[in-house]
Amino acid sequence: MSFITIAIAILAPLAASLLILLVRRMPVLLALSGMALGLVASLALLLNVSSGGSSELLLPGLPHMPLRLITTPLTVLLSTLVAVIGSFVLVYAVGYMKSDTEKVRFFATMLLFIAAMQTLVLAGDWILLLSAWELIGLSSYLLIGFWYQKPGVKSAATRAFMVTRSADLGLYIAVFILIATTGSSEIAATLNTSGTPATAAGLLLLIAAMGKSAQTPLHDWLQRAMAGPTPVSALLHSATLVAAGAILLIRTAPMLTPETLLVIGIVGGVTTVVTGLIALGEADLKRMLAASTSSQYGLMLVAVGAGVPLAALLHLIAHAAIKSSLFLGAGVFQHSRETTMLEQLRGVGRERPKIFIGFALAALALAGIPPLSGFFSKDAIIAASLNSDSIWVLLPFALAGTLLTGSYMARALSILWHKNQGYKNQQQKSSQSKSVAGLVWMGAGLAGLVTLAVILAAAFPAMKTLLNTPLAENITTEFVPAILGLVAALSGLLLGWFVPVQRLLGPLLSWANNGFSVAGGFDNLMVRPALAMARGCEKLERIFYEGVLAIGRMGLKVGRIVRRTDDKGIDGFIFSFVDSTVNLAAKARTLQSGLIHKELAIGTVASAMILAISLVALMVY
């Protein structure tokens, strides 16, 4: 029975997506029904798993490597998360996209996105996981590029896909290593890999996760991805695209070796600080939230590095609800003022008090204020780093990340709430909120998610029992980490609320605004060399093609002479052949009409045949 339910959890959104594309009408109705059906299926799976059930669905794949969908507490919990967040975001999107003319394309792609993510979390084998991993890349490319006519959008979409795909090579090679070592493509069977293959695979998985979860130094694409519609940001920052990276590491945690764990912890720690500072200095609300996402995923990686993936999972779940709430709130502010620049949003909170309260609750939850959900998940992370062997590496990162979270959220709240008198006088008109279409739908989606963000912590004990891992015992709300976390969060909030960012960041500010890009970032380190390489090839092609310059002048020093004689020999011969034939043909054309060089070509065949036959004759005798 439950294998049908697994199929429905994926197929319902997928079918809705295809149906929307086919019938091209009622996109909203179809999208919501498909999503609702998928949600019911996920909840049914959750019910089944919590009563001890588990199931597996085998599908035909490659020879000896079937595709698998599995229900385990972890996969089903994540599937439910995707379905719940997805549903609320879709409800919100109904309002947000009310006046957009391309609802068909929007809702079809959103549901494809959700279906791909469901496949990713429920996948039980590497090939299916890899496929879903790439498909969420595709759907996010289509969604980020949704308004493809706007300036900057196509490059944002292209960059998002390219950065993540470059990092995906890590996943490809890791998968090859794991299958080669264990002879199986089943994820569970590959998790008992150990030794060097495990370290190599673990580090390669980390690269893939760094791409998807936008970890330093691959964090830059996520901020640019804000070019897409807000519901897209809400979805891809919470339960889908970005989550995939952390989910990958959480699922493969049993296989990660101590060396790998340390590297993961450091990458996460550096990211949480670097992107936290970027968020603090950011002038645009949505870009700030994007940087904050990287920072929070950095904290999750710290937890994984500390050896407590459960803490990372709890934070992932809490963060999903919180961050989607924040984006949905930001979307309403955006519709009110037609901008996302913080300075121009000054005081918008007073005009939309209900939305602001929701936004503020989510912000406090993210900062880690009890009894909101973020407090408990962050507490778990700090506790994990306290109990870890690498406490002196991980704990400072965890605390700094918490402090920064408080600071940038307080700064945003302060700007959204306080009216600046001088500013208001200057731009009286433009700062007036205009009425927003579809506010009811948006409010409903937001309310649902904020509620989730507030109360989710109540479900944490149940989740721990459900997951029933030995690691669950590591997580208890202890006094020391709780106090440490609370102090960090509160001091962060106070700093952010009272101290202007210029004072806080000082000389770091301009660098932070530049995304802490080192040596020009992705462009200089990856794109330029690739294009240079391409131009090199093209140059080589021209040399080949025109046969003018010697090949040996460029290219490798080793074997230069051999290459020169070979290439020039072959090509020069052919070109002189072509040219002389063409010349001959041109001359001959004055004497004879008709397509002379066809005859010539046939003549060539004939004479070569005769030549070949005489050669054979020679060989025989």
């Binding site: 490659l62 020879p63 595709l138 090859f176 294009l531 391409a534 090509d571 072509v578 066809k598 060989m619």
Partner: protein, 496 residues
């Protein structure tokens, strides 16, 4: 049993004769005959598919004595390596005939030539006699020469001649190798099955024969540095010619690489395996980078062919180097599937570029922009085909490339650097999509007086030609099993 293989091979030839007899028939009747003939041929290929293959070598054998004194006979049959290619060939010709129904320039000659080319192409894949194979191989060459020289674009004559001489001179070494294998066999025979089950040459003779064959197939595939004919020929060929050239004729090279080089001189192939692998890696990377530098959409697609065919060379070399039969089968499965995937995807891409060129009389990407709004069906089809070509899961190239790379890592881990190619192709296709289809609508007025904003979307003829390729691209990506099972039946049973 009814000789369905021979029927499938020679049906197009019959159609060609019919076209030549009906000299007075108007173009649409002639095209009708072309479409109908290739349609029935496709049906024949499907019946061949239904009859299937077996583990013991070649199935569906048909044989007639021809020149018994020298051991040459008409012998045809299929195995898991050739059967998918036969089906692919029949499908590609069918859609090409539909697409070309607009050709008015000497439509009799065009249809007859295409049908002749179809017979030669299917014949080359089913031939089990080396002489027969060589004849089909050369006939296809002549037909393609006329196709480019007569129905091509602006600089067609030079490109056609270059194509002809390059591949013709390239195929002479194969003839020598065939004769060498013949002289090595005892008793003398041209039966390829005998050469495969009992390789006639060894030592230096085998290595020389292998080198000769490698030269021929490297030109055909094409492998760097013998690829320079390809961009020129593709750019100048008519869209129909490009589809067949890339979709079918490049496969002669990779098919020959497996059927002749790998199967008939297996020991020499294994010895030279590393060298072949290196050439494959270079071709894959070079093709990708060269494609990245193109501004002509058709040249871009042509160069990605070099990249994709490079993966096949890698796969075959890895199969030869692998000690474990399971890994060898994986590598070969991937290679053969890649041939099919490449035919479908690149066929679709060349059709789409041809459709763009029909409309705007240019292939320069800088002259386009924002087209997805103007021609949404064409645009989204291109996006789908481009993502298939860059190896997105769920589309045709992924299962093939996955298997090739999986085997590569297990046999020669260092060769996995070729996987960088999938990032480069992603980059170049995304750039092409962004430049041609996204952003603002280009204001350029084209040669034919059209502007980007007034281009018409696909008509039903074009849609009909394109749809089968795109549908199979998805089907093969989602459920490659039905093709892989056929391939695997043969590859797992190979004795070496």
């Amino acid at each position: 049993m009814y000789p369905i293989v021979s029927t499938t091979v020679f049906l197009p030839l019959l159609g060609a004769l019919l076209v030549l007899l009906m000299r007075k028939a108007p173009p649409h009747v002639v095209h009708g005959i072309g479409i109908a003939t290739s349609g029935v041929t496709l049906l024949g290929a499907m019946i061949m598919w239904a009859r299937g293959v077996n583990e013991t070598g070649f199935a569906q054998l048909e044989q007639i004595d021809w020149m018994p004194s020298i051991g040459a006979a008409y012998r045809v049959g299929v195995d898991g390596i050739s059967l998918p290619l036969v089906l692919l060939t029949a499908l590609l010709f069918f859609v090409t005939f539909i697409y070309s129904a607009k050709v008015r320039k000497q439509s009799h000659a065009f249809v007859a030539l295409m049908l002749l080319l179809e017979t030669a192409s299917i014949g080359a894949f089913v031939a089990l006699d080396a002489i027969l194979f060589y004849v089909f191989f050369e006939v296809s060459l002549v037909s393609m020469y006329f196709m480019i020289a007569h129905w091509g674009h602006e600089d067609r004559q030079r490109a056609a001649l270059m194509f002809f001489i390059y591949t013709f001179l390239g195929s002479l070494p194969l003839l020598l190798a065939i004769l060498g294998l013949y002289l090595g066999s005892d008793p003398y025979t041209f039966d390829m099955r005998v050469w495969i089950s009992n390789p006639p040459l060894d030592g230096l003779a085998a290595m020389l024969a292998l080198i000769a064959m490698l030269i021929t197939f490297a030109v055909k595939i094409p492998v760097f540095p013998l690829h320079t004919w390809l961009p020129a020929a593709h750019v100048q060929a008519p869209a129909a010619g490009s589809v067949i050239l890339a979709g079918v004729m490049l496969k002669f090279g990779t098919y020959g690489l497996v059927r002749f080089a790998y199967q008939m001189t297996p020991d020499a192939f294994r010895e030279a395996g590393v060298v072949i692998l290196i050439f494959g890696v270079i071709a894959a990377l070079y093709g990708a980078f060269a494609a990245l530098a193109q501004s002509d959409l058709k040249r871009l697609v042509a160069y990605t062919s070099i990249n994709h065919m490079g993966y096949i060379v890698i796969g075959v070399a890895i199969a030869a180097l692998a000690a474990d039969p399971a890994i060898r089968a994986t590598a070969l499965d991937g290679s053969v599937l890649q041939m099919v995937s490449h035919g479908l995807v690149t066929g679709a891409l060349f059709l789409l570029v041809g459709m763009l060129q029909d409309r705007a009389h240019t292939r320069d990407m800088a002259q386009f922009g924002g087209l997805i709004k103007v021609v949404p069906i064409l645009g989204w089809s291109f996006v789908l085909a481009a993502f298939a070509s860059l190896g997105l899961p769920g589309l045709a190239h992924f299962p093939a490339e996955f298997q090739i790379f999986l085997a590569t890592l297990q046999v020669e881990p260092i060769a996995i650097i070729a996987i960088i190619g999938i990032v480069i192709t992603a980059g170049l296709y995304l750039r092409a999509i962004a430049q041609v289809f996204l952003g603002d609508i280009n204001k350029t007025v084209y040669d034919n007086g059209a502007t980007a904003a007034t281009l018409p979307d696909l008509n039903s003829r074009e849609l009909l030609a394109l749809a089968p390729l795109l549908i199979f691209t998805i089907v093969l990506g989602v459920a490659p099993g039905w093709v892989l099972d056929v391939i695997h039946t043969t590859t797992i049973a190979l004795p070496f």
